[in-house]
Homo-oligomer: 429 residues x 2
């Protein structure tokens, strides 16, 4: 065993570590302060492809792994988003895929900062249980065709530890560490094929398409190394996805999308993600047939039925009336005629957090009822006095504050801006 300070010094000086040395750092009982120094050295020096493979592999081996393929005897698919504002796509993608007959098994996280978490959205459904045992998770994927649960405590514990450290030591922003964090969890939770929605824009971790491409290539390469098929969709996060931002509001919008009544961008993204998942499944269909089947599942009602089966299976009440509603709704009005030129995702996400829809720190409670509905989005024409957005708030004071922030976030101009597709680029298809 090489002494840990020597491993840190080698990385600090731009050298490479072997797989055994990375195992030593990740799997032995190395103190936080040495890991923190190592992570900062990685921030400056990066990790080679081989080191990133070794890191991901060590992280996967740090805890329990689930072999869904063996448990179900067939290919299982998963979908993951790098996190954005108003991103409820998983809530619609899962049921559509399940309705098409492909098992969908996902372990999900909670939200922190301006991006929401799928678990928080699901918990706005009264009775819904996100904490299943691994056996319950596997059985539900087999019997119902879909399960979305919180990560079990022992799934990639090394990631929990590393991520916790990175978050407080300014070492989050490194592509190898991000890729290893995401992919170790995807690999350990057992799906054969994964569609990764890599958000790009002011409300996302990746601010540019170029950065998102680098991250995507790294994740595809890590997936391939572990024998998993990975497709990355780079999608627009320069404005919120869909119209709703806030947990129950987003569940409602996801259900509307499953009924064919969702916003265009969300519906387009859901269909595209489902098409990739179906293409990667054992159905033997191509992308175009995948799109057709996804649209058909929405049109014939089987997608919303799959949603209801899923929610029931996890103890929730899928009825719209069961979702909580905020006591105060305040509208935000346009101050002029024109077009929405921009509706940046970050201030909208922050305004939602301020209303109580998200967490500023890990232990904050979440108010599932509150949030924002963006009635106008980029490219929409507006008239002076028309409603731009609705604020759903717990009290009047916070509604007023959020209304100001949301009003300021809207950028109105004279001409229609150039249209931007929701899927900017697809890699690994």
């Amino acid at each position: 065993m090489t002494p840990i300070p020597e491993l840190i010094a080698r990385k600090r000086d731009g050298g490479d570590l072997s797989a055994e040395e990375i195992d030593e750092l990740i799997l032995a009982d190395v103190p936080d302060y040495q890991l923190a120094a190592f992570l900062m050295a990685v921030y400056f020096r990066g990790l080679s492809t081989r080191e990133t493979f070794a890191l991901t592999d060590a992280m996967v081996r740090s805890g329990e792994t689930i072999d869904l393929h063996a448990a179900l005897g067939r290919r299982v698919v998963d979908k993951h988003s790098t996190g954005g504002v108003g991103d409820k796509a998983t809530l619609a993608v899962g049921p559509v895929v399940a309705a098409c007959g492909v098992p969908f098994g996902k372990m999900s996280g909670r939200g922190l900062g301006h991006t929401g978490g799928t678990l928080d959205k699901l918990e706005s459904i009264p009775g819904f249980r996100v904490e299943l045992t691994t056996d319950e998770f596997v059985s539900q994927v087999r019997d119902i065709g879909i399960a979305v649960v919180g990560q079990t405590a022992n799934l990639v514990p090394a990631d929990k530890r590393l991520y916790g450290l990175r978050d407080v030591t300014a070492t989050v922003d490194n592509v190898s560490l991000i890729a290893a964090s995401i992919m170790s969890k995807k690999i350990a939770s057992g799906a054969d094929a994964i569609v990764l929605d890599v958000k790009v824009g002011d409300g996302a971790f990746m601010k540019s398409v170029a950065d998102a491409e680098v991250l995507s290539e790294a994740m595809i390469s890590l997936g391939r190394h572990a024998g998993r098929d990975v497709v990355c969709e780079l999608t627009d996060m320069d404005q919120p996805l869909g119209r709703a931002v806030g947990n129950a509001l987003e569940v409602r919008e996801a259900v509307a999308t499953l009924k064919g009544e969702g916003p265009d961008d969300l519906e387009a993204l859901v269909v595209e993600s489902c098409a990739h998942l179906l293409e990667l499944s054992d159905l033997g269909v191509d992308l175009e047939e995948g799109r057709r089947r996804a649209r058909a599942a929405i049109a014939d009602g089987s997608a919303v039925e799959a949603y209801e089966r899923w929610i029931h299976a996890q103890g929730g009440d899928p009825a719209d009336g069961a979702l909580p509603r905020a006591p105060f709704i305040r509208e935000v009005f346009a101050g002029r005629d024109g077009f929405v030129h921009a509706l940046p995702a970050l201030p909208i996400g922050l305004a939602a957090v301020h209303l109580g829809a998200g967490r500023r720190t890990k232990d904050d409670p979440v108010d599932h009822a509150v949030g924002i509905v963006c009635r106008k989005k980029r490219g929409d024409a507006v008239e002076e006095g028309e409603v731009l957005a609705e604020i759903h708030a717990r009290d009047e004071a916070s509604a007023v504050e959020a209304a100001t922030a949301v009003h300021d976030a809207y950028e109105l101009g004279d001409d229609a801006p150039r249209a931007v597709p929701i899927v900017l680029e697809t890699i690994g298809a």
Copy 2:
């Protein structure tokens, strides 16, 4: 208060921190892992002069400070070495300066790795107490004119913490951090004027004169900022200082030097260091007069008398016969005629550690009797079969092992190498 991760991120990105922000990092209760990440960011980005001032200042304020000037009503001098092999200069410099009538008060450290520590050398004297209270320290400097003690636990506790972290996170090697570590302790322990012996060579932390110059300028600047006079002597550590390496052996050589019977390089360094200290004192003498007085104190016996007073004052027995002696002495012989071309300090220091004279880890015990006496040094002529060195060992096996290492360390050649002075350069005089 700025959140700590933001401060780390700013330094990581090459920005500057304010004095208040550095106070927050050093004086607030920041976890080790955040400090470790900060230190690695400093390793890559460095600290500005203002940041280094602020860091040193915060470190000084982290604990107790001693105002020797106020306690004695006159200027007090101190001397510090950055650490080398066979460096017993303090044991001779202190008594010479005291014999010249200038108060000498020094807080010293223990050895780690291949460099010895003054406290360990002093503890080879039976009965010698290195742990005085601050009051005892101050009284002894006033009454006896000299005291050398271990750092009190509460002197610059921030340095203990930072140094402990740097040691295990590969962040030792940064000039601002080194300068702040040394100078915070010198400033807190209260001397008005400090002579810093900056070792340069294979056995020293600084491998090149250029690096030592940068460190010296930084330390002089920190001293000036705190109102202290600082002179840096850059001295040769490409071979051990003097002949003796090992605690009791070094005490004996220091006493010989106080009697005018020491090795040339050690005597030259002691006289030069004392001359600078006398020049910086309140005696009002110039450097040449300082040299004259230092030589006179050695010649007239007052230096060795001051040594004996000092050792008695701290409970020790200054008689040569009181020092421990190793049971095994083995000689190392020259395999050819010629000249000693090189006698690198590092392998000699490591061989001494191996014999038990030093510590590999912080909690190792030290064997005060063992060590190495280099009878031949760089430039000396040797004949085949002549004794190069003596190994003083606890047992025969370790003597044999050390003899091989020491024999291999000697580089013999045909011609006399170019002479190198012990003091390579003086800065700040």
